[in-house]
Point group: D2
Chain length 307, copies 4
């Protein structure tokens, strides 16, 4: 039986998740949609949750935690767009509820874990990890991108993928600059992480990483299938936003969610991972003003999330 | 309803098609298998054809045409591994039968048409095509790879992809060398095609192409997602055969076949394309001994295959 | 003592040779110049030859052979721009005169032999050579570039560098197309050579080569020191003519000529090599019209040119 | 007249400078050498300084400042290997002496300023500089490389090249890690600098940089002329130390020194630059233990060093 999936929120991300569910996923179909204003099958997300087998949350960040809690209450697997909560406290409520339930129903949409380039990096043996360079460049920051949003909205991706690539926990961080911003982090195992976040890099959307190990390094190749010679130049183009860059990752993420929902064993970022990314980001923010290193602490990881 | 697909022949290619059908295809499932010796649901391919909605032919080349004809007789869509026939005459019989039937049921497994790199090349505007460079390197030729097989088994891929990339027909060809072999072809529109076929290139399996247009060129990027620095060297590895290189193409080809079989409108290489590749290869072979240019002629393309 | 060098012909190439002699060469200086119209020290090349220690010929092609003969008569080392003669017969007269003299005084300006990329290719071990791909693209052919000039003026560079890279002799050639033109050559040792010559490639000046051996291949890297991300694109620019691409080669060639002139032992392309390139080009031309393979023959190489 | 140059110290660097002077420099020759034990023309550097026109100092670091002062006293142009002094105080004595003399005679051997890749980066327009990524990897640290030497011996190169690329002054720095070490610096104009120094990177010697501007970025291309396909892999090799990587830079640096000594107008890093690199390094060191950001201050730049 094909899994009936409902999508809450039909903005850019929600519409794309719906498109993937309609044409690129095996074992599931788009069964319901919910949006406060757009064309959809439901206005009330709670009613929608009742009539589907699994849920995708792509509504505004402030609603993520409550809707995830509702899915947990209904016993429905849920793919929740990042962040899991608008605050670490909100995200922690989801973790607590899932722990109380005793089984994992929440996957958080840190889609990079399904990107072929990051997967190839993780699979590559370069010896014990020593240092990770992350680069995160947007062509142009949207108007509403203010205050600590480079940290809460962009850096969280780098926090999540660094934790995943290194299988390690972040213990210290320091920020210098605003845009670009340079974030230096350290991990429990002593690995260094250097991250550039540049919201107005002008030339295009570009995510890059290089992992430096004690036996070598592995870095992403340029994100292209073809190279052109045209008008005096050799090379390739960049997309202007993240959608083309991570199209394969979104498709693979949804297929993994569907497979996990059907088998009862979810993959990808857990509620714990979603909480961790937001909690770490929150603890980094005070250093934005002071320029001083911040010590990062997390509560003990609940047993439910041990491999 | 999920399309019931049966696979005939469970060698390397057939087993891989079966694997794709079991885990990577939307709207279809593996419903039957047929092999003379292996574990399978049917020994007789004709009996298997009766009980499925669509067929994949991956049995020995000598059986392709007859099995495709049986599928046409049964009105079942068929994805036939290349070549469509062991000879052009055999392939032509399939074309004639399909034309007599009056609708297309045959897709030929020239999977490169679904490879993201070739698709990106075709989508790229470099002005009017002027010249195409193809490179086809195998690490090591199998024992049974003798005589004209570099032409009938390997060059056919280059013939098909050149016709598809250029949307043009080959009219002349000349071969020099044996291994490597250099094949120079010309098309009806005056485009030049240079193709290296090297069956014992030693270093790995590597397919490359560069299309030269009057406004620029487009070439495949190196086939990798990541680049390493290890043991004194920078770069990436090659696979030792075609399976990893074209894994995405095989998956996309099968999805396209399933979608086409369901909608009644097949994509990919047609029976005419399958015939053309083999007919052109046959006409190139006499030049292998003489080293002289060979004029290539094809019959008029039946109306059924006009776009 | 610094070598007194005189340059005959102050067009693009001659002016550049003069510039190199004034600022980038060790052990020599620009002592005289000769041009029919421009500012220079001499109008009569023969008078100029008398008063210098070594000569650079960069006058029109039709004058090369006679001036080289004058240098031989005067016992002066000479760097003669390619071609050595407007015809093979003319070039042969230079060879004969040098052989009669019994010592080498002529170096021909096939500067690619001093290009770091070609030198690195030649130094690289890829097993026994099997095939060489050459690509020669100009942004736009000059007005005066007509008839067989893609062969006599451009392909000669590919002929010379192929003979040098492979240490082998060309025995057969076939041309298809006009612009681009595809030239397939074969050598005495059985190596295949595929050469694209495209005089109106539009995007820039670009020379590329890949040598395919029985243990691997070696190709030029993209000709750049830096890569940029700008305005939606990644990559680098091409020059619009050969001067920037081969600036290092011209400098190294002149230094080698000066060192050879001082030591009495010239390096680089010899008069024999200059003759061979032009003689092979002449024998290729008839095939331009017929499209048929041409057998190439050269006289026995005089003992003077044996290593 | 050819400039008579004497080299003090015939270790790895001194021997290479002597080699360059003997065969790759225009307008100068190796006239004298001085070493405490090796084969040379002089044992006493002060005697050697008397008999030459210009001096190269490549003796142990502890001797640099005193020998540079001796050259200043003798009025002889000097190319002093980095660092200019074993301490900032020593280097400052050289600055003071040169200022007292009132003309520049000292060039410091920060050879990267003559590297074609760095020069191409500096020439590239990517808008106002915003961030600079430096990577400095050695295959294996020598035994004697202890304590703060990654900062005083390796990071000084990054300090110098960053100041030169950005035409800016460093005002703050923080170090995390030991090997690799990650150094975050900030400049007077607000540019961020991220530098990895990894003394035991295992795979080879590798220096890389990317400059991020507000209109784009420019990075070094991989340091190779050719790319190979061999034994299952594509790519190129790294050298195991800095000599091959910077061979062109050393040659160009010496030619610039000779030209500057002859014309009376030195290029390259000045005594002020040499002092600055060492003074900045010294101020960074305390942060190695504390992990805290260090404020960097320099005295006012003497008028002599204004452009
Ligand atoms: Mg996301
Ligand atoms: Mg196939
Ligand atoms: Mg030339
Ligand atoms: Mg140095």
């Amino acid at each position: 039986m094909s899994l009936r999936v409902g999508v809450i929120g039909l903005g850019v991300m929600g519409a794309d998740h719906a498109r993937v569910l309609q044409g690129e996923v095996r074992g599931a179909h788009l069964a319901a949609t919910c949006d406060p204003v757009g064309e959809c099958s439901h206005r009330d997300p709670h009613e929608m949750i009742e009539v589907v087998d699994a849920v995708v949350i792509a509504s505004p960040d402030a609603t993520h935690a409550d809707l995830a809690l509702a899915c947990l209450a209904a016993g429905k697997p849920v793919l929740c767009e990042k962040p899991l909560g608008a605050t670490a406290a909100e995200a922690w409520r989801v973790v607590e509820a899932e722990v109380a339930l005793g089984r994992r129903l929440v996957q958080v949409g840190y889609m990079r874990r399904f990107d072929p380039a990051y997967l190839a990096m993780k699979a590559c043996d370069v010896g014990e990890p020593a240092l990770l360079h992350n680069i995160h460049r947007n062509a142009q920051a949207p108007d509403w991108f203010v205050g600590a949003m480079p940290i809460t909205n962009s850096l969280v991706h780098e926090i999540d993928i660094s934790r995943w690539l290194l299988d390690d926990e972040i213990t210290e961080a320091r920020v210098v600059g605003q845009d670009p911003m340079l974030v230096t982090m350290q991990t429990a195992k002593g690995v260094l992480i250097s991250t550039e976040v540049f919201m107005n890099a002008a030339y295009g959307y570009h995510v890059h990483a290089e992992l430096v190990g004690r036996a070598g390094t592995v870095a992403m190749a340029q994100p292209t299938r073809v190279l052109t010679n045209r008008a005096g130049a050799h090379g390739h183009g960049y997309p202007m936003n993240w959608v083309p860059r991570f199209a394969e990752a979104y498709r693979a993420q949804m297929n993994a969610f569907v497979a996990g929902a059907r088998s009862g064993s979810l993959a990808g970022a857990s509620a714990w991972d979603g909480y961790a990314a937001t909690a770490i980001a929150e603890q980094i923010i005070p250093g934005l003003a002071s320029g001083l290193p911040q010590t990062i602490t997390l509560p003990a990881k609940p047993q439910l999330y041990e491999a």
